[in-house]
Symmetry: C2
Subunit: 250 residues, 2 copies
């Protein structure tokens, strides 16, 4: 049973939203959910997401592992909160007359910057739709930016999901390649990324002529400008949205 009526909210999520006030009955809490999440983020930043264990977090905080369970129902509840705190909120809105496209473009680049600052975040599996305070803030920012587009609320949400998935997936791909290059020991010296090496070794031009051709053009080698690639794809997506918006505002 939960305290509130109706649907159960995970305890730590309720805490993140500022509900679930802790009545000052027992001894003063030496910890807080935020300190725990911060410690978890530090571990992830230092040694990767795989190093984030309850024991490790507890060690970081100088407490026992079980102490954490007074604040977190399970380890899985921790991961979304880590994302929430590390990525932070959306950029401040510019004037209300900023066009939707410019606003959403800034939205995407800010999100990208947040992911780059916390590359472990790319490894957090997304299991739930946006839940946490900052995620909702991003959603709010997006919906507001799309105010003048004439899209339905449904469509606005779809557009935001589309963009955020583009940002996340694209960065995940770039990061994966970059990591493979580093892991291969070649610190940007060798032209061939280890990835395209593998492809070259493995791919039969008879069976995969198109991939082979692309490979021959060096497509899978280290991209010249990651930002350029990102912006290019982003423009495509925004173009597609623009087609819809124009059909609604005309």
């Amino acid at each position: 049973m939960e305290s509130d009526s109706g649907t159960d909210i995970p305890a730590s999520l309720a805490t993140a939203w500022g509900l679930r006030e802790r009545p000052g009955k027992g001894p003063k809490p030496g910890l807080s959910l935020e300190r725990i999440v911060t410690a978890a983020i530090n571990v992830a930043a230092a040694d990767g997401l795989a190093a984030v264990s309850m024991n490790r977090i507890a060690k970081e905080l100088g407490v026992s592992a079980m102490a954490l369970y007074r604040y977190v129902g399970a380890k899985n509840e921790l991961l979304p909160l880590m994302l929430d705190l590390a990525i932070g909120g959306p950029p401040p809105p510019r004037g209300a007359d900023e066009g939707w496209r410019s606003a959403m473009e800034r939205w995407c680049w800010s999100y990208l910057a947040g992911l780059r600052r916390n590359s472990w975040a790319l490894r957090v599996p997304i299991t739930d739709p946006p839940n946490t305070p900052q995620q909702i803030a991003w959603l709010e920012h997006g919906l507001t930016s799309l105010r003048g587009t004439g899209l339905t609320e449904h469509e606005k949400v779809s557009v935001i999901m589309l963009l955020s998935s583009y940002v996340r997936n694209t960065e995940a791909l770039f990061h994966g390649i970059a990591e493979a290059v580093v892991a291969a020991g070649s610190s940007a010296e060798r032209m061939m990324s280890s990835y395209s090496d593998v492809l070259r070794k493995v791919i039969d031009p008879e069976r995969f002529p198109s991939v082979s051709a692309a490979l021959g053009q060096g497509v899978f080698d280290q991209p010249d400008s990651v930002d350029g690639e990102f912006g290019f794809g982003l423009d495509r997506v925004l173009d597609g949205i623009d087609v819809l918006v124009r059909s609604r505002t005309q």
Copy 2:
């Protein structure tokens, strides 16, 4: 040290590509990588991705856990191979005169169908760019479908990545919501999904007016037609690609 010269390929990946012939020296292998991966897929399909452990797979095959390590370097190597085998290859190509848009649309729907048949696949974290035989086959199919578009190879790859990330993320989101509804016990009876219930409980209309408005319109309740939503977003993305293609072919 590896057998081949140059870059190291993970052992099981090499096996998946048919390299790494096992010289018939020792006793005949009672297992094969494919049987192991199949068993792992069965476990995932039956009890979810979290139930996939080396012990469990071994039990399924009637061998000891350590036997698996003769075929797989580590458990992590198993996950991409599971994806590869379960999702399978792209749909057969239609005539060479099929337009790129129709071809890529089929591509996306086929990929979606593959993900729906294996919803555990949505939980497999993607760490590497496409590696495995079937993934390359999907890439090949996409590149071939985009043959007549006048895009550069670079751009074609970007387009394919964009579409595949759209499909995967969108389905992941839908699946997450659907699962939350099931977990809440309401088997499609209750109109409100447990997700929008949570939002309603948690969101302050002052701080998040746009989200609140969308919420009021029932945007976050169970979507009427998941396929409709999916197709709608897909059309937007394809529209954006179309803008680029037109600018190149004109």
